[in-house]
């Protein structure tokens, strides 16, 4: 028989004003199993807590019900008090006499009866409470950062600087990401490469950072503090250790007509290449899809000219598995594809380009060495039309959201253009100008007022080529929708920012959720913006939503700080309110029948399959197993389980049943 103490709090007049507290104490004393029941003015006060602690010792209580305010208010207080007196804190429960009773009902007998009922419910719960201990999970203090753009670099540096190991995985041959392609950055117009390159080098040389370029995450198992990650290190066909990065192979490669990704197809590169001069690591990679040797076994020039014999045609992909404590996703974005804009002739007319191509045209390290020349004939364009919201905020294009960075970079583009082509005229078609940010709106005003960009508020309906010009037809909605027609030499589309290709697949590999546009979903839109719903996996940068550089860097640092905080402890402590699959005596072993319908019901992928084997290793039965590191204790699986094989500690079937039985 239980020895339960009931402690009814007056909360001054807050409870006692409508509930007859002494009577509640009196009524609840008669409940079988209750050996002590008192009322007191302020239970949460020091004397009140002392009263509970002394009663626990004096009456040898093995369970406590504090009938006071909401458990959401003082449950930690009283559980701590109970623990101090030697009762497991999870054997202390609260009956909510204040928020759910005295404050919402009139002073009368019914209210007091309800108060007594609320205590009865909790007494039955305590009777079926089991002592629980917080769950300890060890932490592997190595972080994995996926994506080597500015987000990933910043995150990796912050974690590394906090003294923890970081593995930085990048799918392309060099880190740097989109930012390395930019010419200048808003709102300061400082050179993107100038500010990024030092960070890239720092990341590469940091003793705590292990760089894995040309690599992709293949598989993720485990849970917070204890992930097992398999990374595919794609074969560069070049021995990185032997290669000195002299570049002879790149110069000698006879196949030089491959569209250059870094220059957005505006230039060519050889089949063995370094993506860009400042690449990190600055060692070449063979593009096997375009290499003559890999296509027909002939050529082999690179191998012949390499002074250190570093070319390895037989190099294979490597699968590397490592123990990881936390993961930061920083996989970035992509721009909307050309086939989405038939009305603008994007992909059809050479001089209709996107913003990133314009960045390359404007970049000193770009294909034109920073001189603005249009792609079709290399002429200097005298009239350039910039179209903001190309795809963004356009339901017909499947992108109802704002891409966030286009207003700013379009203003930047008009300025860069004007600075290079002094007699040129830039037009901007826009829907709204969104320039919220430090020095942002001033920047846009400068583009309009100083660099004389003509801003036209309206959409462009069509672009077509006529007599060597691009006819841009639109409307000026500030002029009563007056049709506007501009004969342009070049058109720059600020195409929508979209999630990376296959981001859904990657999300599924990591068991994190994503929105309908393929951006990774944060755990809470306001309060947990850099966490995912899977504990131990964080987000940085544009893989979560369109972001500009300052935001990306801030989020990268935030994610880094989260990881550092996680790594500051040797063990994680978690509330023991988790689901458990029962174990029974053989031959049943568990009432679980292994239908695994619970697996899809679990929001946290916390349910695994476990094989029960006999001594000879033969599998007798495969049953569900809840990983306490992942389980958050919602209990959805518990309600779903037909055989009642899963139960939730703290809110068990027996407890809820017993609570119901009092009613």
């Amino acid at each position: 028989m239980s020895r339960i103490g009931v402690f009814t709090c007056h909360c001054g007049e807050n409870i006692a004003g409508t509930v007859d507290c002494p009577k509640v104490a009196e009524l609840t004393r008669q409940i079988p199993g209750v050996v002590h029941s008192v009322d007191y003015k302020y239970m949460c006060s020091d004397p009140g807590q002392t009263l509970i602690k002394e009663a626990i010792k004096e009456h040898k209580l093995d369970g406590v019900v504090v009938a006071a305010c909401s458990p959401r208010m003082h449950e930690p207080t009283f559980r701590k008090a109970a623990a101090e007196a030697g009762v497991n804190p999870y054997l202390c429960e609260m009956a909510n006499l204040r928020e759910h009773c005295s404050w919402v009902h009139e002073k009368n007998e019914a209210t007091t009866q309800k108060a007594a009922d609320l205590v009865r419910i909790m007494v039955e719960k305590v009777k079926h409470d089991t002592p629980l201990t917080p769950i300890k999970v060890p932490v592997t203090k190595t972080a994995l950062v996926v994506g080597g753009g500015i987000a990933g670099i910043q995150t990796a540096l912050d974690i590394a600087n906090a003294g923890h190991q970081v593995v930085l995985v990048e799918k392309s041959p060099s880190i740097g990401g989109h930012m390395s392609q930019l010419s200048e950055t808003f709102p300061t117009l400082d050179c993107s490469q100038c500010i990024l390159t030092p960070r890239m080098v720092e990341a590469a040389q940091h003793p705590n950072i292990k760089l894995m370029t040309y690599s992709e995450v293949e598989k993720v198992d485990g849970f917070i503090g204890n992930f097992k990650v398999t990374v595919r290190k794609k074969a560069k066909k070049v021995d990185e250790k032997a290669c000195t990065g002299c570049g002879l192979c790149v110069t000698k490669c006879p196949n030089k007509k491959i569209p250059d990704e870094f220059n957005e197809g505006l230039a060519f590169r050889p089949a063995i290449y370094v993506p860009f001069p400042q690449a990190v690591p600055n060692k070449p990679t063979i593009d096997t899809a375009n290499c003559t040797y890999f296509k027909n076994g002939k050529c082999g020039v690179c191998s012949k000219v390499c002074p250190t014999g570093a070319i390895r045609y037989d190099q294979e992909d490597e699968l590397i598995t490592m123990d990881i404590g936390a993961i930061v996703m920083a996989t970035g974005f992509k721009l909307m594809q050309t086939d989405k804009f038939p009305e603008y002739g994007y992909g059809k007319y050479k001089d209709v380009i996107d913003g990133m191509q314009f960045e390359r045209l404007a970049s000193a390290s770009g294909p034109t060495a920073g001189v603005i020349k249009r792609p079709s004939d290399g002429k200097e364009p005298e009239t350039v039309v910039f179209i903001a919201c190309s795809g963004s905020r356009d339901r017909a294009k499947g992108v109802p959201y704002c891409s966030k960075i286009c207003c700013m970079y379009t203003a930047k583009h008009t300025m860069l253009y004007k600075h290079k082509v002094h007699h040129g005229q830039a037009y901007v078609f826009y829907m709204d100008i969104r320039s919220a940010g430090k020095d942002y709106d001033e920047f846009v005003r400068r583009a309009i007022e100083e660099d004389e960009a003509k801003y036209i508020r309206g959409r462009v309906s069509r672009i077509y080529e006529e007599d060597g010009k691009l006819i841009v037809k639109g409307a000026d909605t500030l002029m009563n929708g007056e049709p506007v027609e501009i004969k342009a030499d070049m058109v720059v589309l600020a195409t929508a920012v979209q999630s990376q290709d296959r981001s859904e697949d990657l999300a599924q590999t990591l068991h994190i959720s994503y929105d309908k546009y393929g951006f990774f979903a944060e755990a809470h839109p306001k309060l947990r913006p850099v966490e995912t719903n899977t504990a131990g996996i964080f987000l940085a940068g544009a893989c979560q939503a369109p972001r500009d550089i300052p935001e990306t860097v801030a989020q990268g640092s935030a994610a880094g700080a989260k990881v550092a905080a996680l790594f500051s402890q040797d063990e994680l402590t978690r509330e023991p309110i988790v689901a458990v699959v029962n174990r029974q005596a053989p031959p049943l072993f568990s009432t679980c029948t292994g239908c695994f319908l619970c697996q899809t019901a679990c929001p946290y992928q916390a349910i695994e399959q476990e094989e029960i084997k006999d001594r000879s290793g033969r599998v007798i039965k495969t049953v569900a197993k809840v990983n306490p590191g992942l389980c958050q204790g919602c209990g959805t699986c518990v309600a779903f389980c037909r055989t009642k094989a899963i139960d939730l500690a703290g809110f068990s079937n027996e407890q809820l049943f017993a609570e119901l039985m009092t009613l």
Partner: protein, 267 residues
């Protein structure tokens, strides 16, 4: 029938299977399940219109499961539907059980879930007119009358569990009915115990029922218990567009969700 016997013998002789689960003649010329492990036993196999039992139920039985690789005679589509649902629920490995479907001029041998699905696409499942009529009649009744109808039916229930034990999807080793900590459903077959038993059974089969109707046929006192699971299945299908026994790969309707599931009653 002869081609079935021949096929069964071939498979047994080739050692491809250990036993054939089929039908044999039973009391008063009915058909009963029959396990044939030898040529002698194969000769007792019968395949005709009277073979109605859903044999998938027996596949889940401990003694039969452990005989080795089995072939099952699937005279009715619901047997294949059961196999699909059992595969989806990890009870049967895809390819572990051979289905022999008596067809015109021979026997169709199906070995994989995909083959079952393809075959089922040719033979749509339909409720009998009698069942549909009673379902419609019940749905049209005023609620209180429907309550009285079921209470009258349930009053005959004695919890022999023939409905449960004849159901291919009731394969749980320890049924909720037998869970006594807490004792969710009262053991006695009094009014409360019976109502709760049938409610729980139907709910546990919602989205999983293959609509073979075996439970209703098994009831010795003639309670139309199969209508409860048929109804639940209809409800699932109508609201979520998927039901039990359709595929070995679709996740269960009630352990998944869509954010835009439409209901009309939540305040």
């Amino acid at each position: 029938m002869e081609s079935l016997k021949q096929k069964a013998k071939e498979l047994l002789e080739a050692g491809e299977i250990k036993a054939v689960l089929g039908y044999a003649r039973g009391t008063s010329d009915t058909r009963r399940p029959h396990v044939a492990m030898s040529a002698l036993e194969v000769d007792k196999l019968v395949a005709d219109q009277a073979c109605t039992t859903n044999l998938a139920n027996l596949l889940m039985k401990h003694e039969i499961k452990h005989l080795g690789k089995l072939a099952v005679v699937a005279s009715r589509p619901s047997t294949l539907r059961s196999l699909l649902q059992l595969t989806a629920e990890h009870q049967v490995a895809d390819g572990a059980i051979l289905a022999l479907v008596p067809a015109e001029g021979g026997v169709k041998q199906l070995g994989t879930a995909q083959a079952f699905e393809e075959h089922l696409a040719l033979v749509p499942q339909k409720k009998t007119e009698k069942d549909q009529a009673l379902l419609d009649r019940l749905k049209a009744m005023p609620r209180a009358e429907r309550f009285a109808f079921w209470q009258k039916e349930f009053s005959r229930c004695m919890k022999c569990y023939a409905c449960r034990n004849s159901c291919p999807m009731c394969y749980c080793e320890r049924c909720t009915m037998d869970c006594n900590r807490p004792q969710w459903v009262p053991v006695p077959s009094h009014a409360v115990g019976n109502q709760e038993y049938h409610l729980v059974r139907a709910m546990h089969l919602a989205g999983r029922c293959v609509e073979c109707g075996e439970c209703g046929r098994a009831c010795p006192v003639g309670i139309p218990v199969h209508l409860l699971t048929f109804f639940a299945e209809d409800s699932v299908r109508a609201q979520f567009g998927q039901g039990g026994g359709a595929s070995a790969t679709i996740d269960n309707a009630l352990s998944t969700f869509r954010p835009d599931d439409k209901e009309t009653f939540i305040r």
